[in-house]
């Protein structure tokens, strides 16, 4: 790293500072919509970062990551509907179930490679999607409105927009830190080693399957947390939260931002969601711009926005 003020670092810092100050701006201008919008960005950014842990660093391209968004949300929603309003029960329960689901999915999926892995993760998320549709008591296809957000005693009020925003922000930073620590630990090096040459890692004596499985579960749990936040934020959960198109969105965010770094997917989430929102104000036909843009990223900018910024330093 040559110096602290590379274009990339400046960009990352600018994004983080802007995200940190957003509520202040919103309060000054009484613009509640912008705050809602960026709360969603933070939550989906967190999901994209968790996906990138397995996809970017572990080489496990999961096409069913949105399942955890849905499962996290549903566990919270179902408990809320059944009268368990305490977040101290709801949140750990949601994370536990997401972890167990990831454990089961991972244990079966990680036997496969390449496109088969993409398809089997997709299959499991579709199963979760259809189970949610079959949950008649919890709205089936329609999903359900959640009347009360998680309760954490008197000090914490999730209905307060500013508080909720900063809660998401802090959890996002914690996620970034956790993933960063993981990636740079011995564990992370094994995962990344397995991505480039799994046979060699096994030959050296690392049980790569177990390492990858643990990594898969961690990513699922983090995404489950994002799911709990999202359902709390929208006061609503429905099966579409785990539709395969949503999984595709998460992949797009991660790749668009750049899979090589921990923060890349966050930049991708900011860019993708802002692009969608801004384009929707100028044209009805966002796909005509967004579609070719994704094609171009896939063809010419594998490193995503992050990669372009890295390139600027050299050029």
């Amino acid at each position: 790293m040559s110096g602290l003020f590379t274009p990339r670092n400046v960009m990352v810092a600018a994004v983080l500072v802007l995200l940190a100050l957003m509520p202040v701006y919103c309060a000054l201008t009484a613009n509640t919509f912008l705050m809602s919008f960026f709360t969603r960005v933070l939550i989906l950014g967190m999901a994209a970062i968790s996906l990138n842990l397995i996809m970017g660093f572990g080489g496990m391209v999961s096409f069913g990551h949105a399942a955890y968004l849905g499962i996290g949300g549903y566990v919270f929603g179902i408990l809320a509907k059944e009268g368990v309003t305490s977040g101290l029960i709801q949140w750990p329960a949601a994370l536990l179930i997401c972890g167990l689901f990831a454990l089961a999915v991972g244990a079966l999926s990680l036997r496969t490679r390449g496109v088969y892995f993409i398809m089997i993760t997709l299959a499991f998320s579709q199963m979760a999607y259809y189970i949610a549709i079959a949950l008649d008591r919890y709205g089936g296809d329609d999903g359900m409105a959640i009347q009360r957000r998680s309760q954490f005693g008197d000090l914490v009020n999730l209905n307060n927009r500013t508080f909720f925003y900063y809660l998401c922000f802090v959890l996002l930073l914690a996620t970034v830190y956790l993933v960063w620590r993981l990636v740079n630990s011995r564990f992370g090096l094994v995962i990344q080693g397995a991505r480039s040459n799994e046979r060699r890692m096994r030959a050296i004596g690392f049980p790569t399957f177990r390492y990858k499985l643990v990594c898969f579960v961690i990513a699922g749990v983090i995404c489950g947390l994002a799911g709990v936040l999202l359902a709390n934020f929208s006061d609503f959960i429905n099966p579409s939260a785990m539709n395969w198109i949503r999984s595709g969105d998460l992949i797009v965010m991660a790749v668009l931002g750049g899979m090589g770094t921990v923060l890349g997917p966050l930049i991708g989430a900011v860019a993708f969601l802002m692009l969608e929102e801004v384009l929707s104000r100028f044209t009805e036909f966002q796909g005509l711009i967004l579609g070719p843009l994704l094609l171009a990223v896939a063809l010419y900018a594998r490193g995503g926005i992050d990669g372009i910024l890295m390139g600027l330093r050299r050029g």
Binding site: M11, A14, L18, Y25, T29, N31, T32, F33, L34, S36, F37, I133, G140, D141, D142, G143, A145, Q147, S234, D235, F236, N238, S240, A241, M274, L275, E277, V278, R281, I308, L309
Partner: protein, 390 residues
Amino acid sequence: MKRYLLAACAVAALATTPALAQQKTVKIGFISSFSGPVAAIGNDMRNSFELALDHLGRKIGGLPVEVIYEDDQVKPEVGLQKTQKLIESDKVDFMVGYIWSNVLLASLKQLVDSKTVTVVANAGASQLAGELCSPYVFSTSWNNDQLPRALGTYMNQKGVKSVFQIGPNYAAGKDNLDGLMLSFKGQVAGREMTRWPDQLDFSAELSKARAAKPDAIFAFYPGGAGVQFVTQYAQSGLKGQIPLYQTFTIDELSLPRLKDLAIGVPGVSHWVNDLPNEANKKYVADYKAKFKLSPSFYGSQTYDAAMLIDAALKETKGDTANKDSLRKAMEKADFKSVRGDFKFGPNHIPIQAFYLQDVVKEGDDYRLKTVAKIVDNDQDPHVGKCKMPN
């Protein structure tokens, strides 16, 4: 550097649009479906709302008006986001629209929490009439189970002893199938619910209906799915064997596509284009003149929604800030409805008559015709569960 500028521009574009809530203009947010096979419904609603504004001299309650139309894509989560945007970003005074019960139920909390005065112009989720009723939410339509309940009464008169029910698996589908059983005295030979809105192949369900040998089939498929259902019903050869009864499946929007296939399939409605009152004659004639199409019941309800808001604003002298007086003015419903008499029940759902309608062919034209009044002053069955605050 260019990139940073671009990013800054994007942030600025997001930040500036919702600025300056204007004082003199009434802002109305309008949620409906403008894409997909149900776009015809959304267009009919938009046309009717615009026609009402024409009739009011492009003003509402004497004030200039701005309507912001948003497409819910028939998805609850999209409807919720659009509702949030209209309330928070555009800061609308009224919300109008909502075709789908599930979209409405997803968005309801936002509407209620923000105390936005809302006129639901179609969705008749039973929860809205019951436990989720709200002081600021009104309906110019009906409750989902009122139409099938009236139809069930008619089916009893026809001596139908068993029925096979088919409908989509979403809030209104369940309400409709349940609603029929509120009055129908015969047996249920079977009940099938299909995935909504993406399942359009009903072959397995129709085969099942044939095997069950019922006296009649009852179907609820609103929008484009209605065309698919009635077409497949005819294709399967069931048409000569087991008669079809329907709610919301055949309307003015699907009729031009169904033509002969729709003849002989009775239905129920609270509004038919030939209802003989002055407001309705004017609405139907002007609609046909302006849009070269026949309006549907979806449009009629939306036309009424505009007139209801207009009357209420005239009552409050254009004041939208005092929600309580606005609510009282809305509850009065002092306007001429295209369906004739109009009054609200305590849960803000209309108390109204329901008619038997039939399809007739006049020359090359197909249209719906009122046959008889089945029930008068009908009130939904959920009103008892509504605890409306004063």
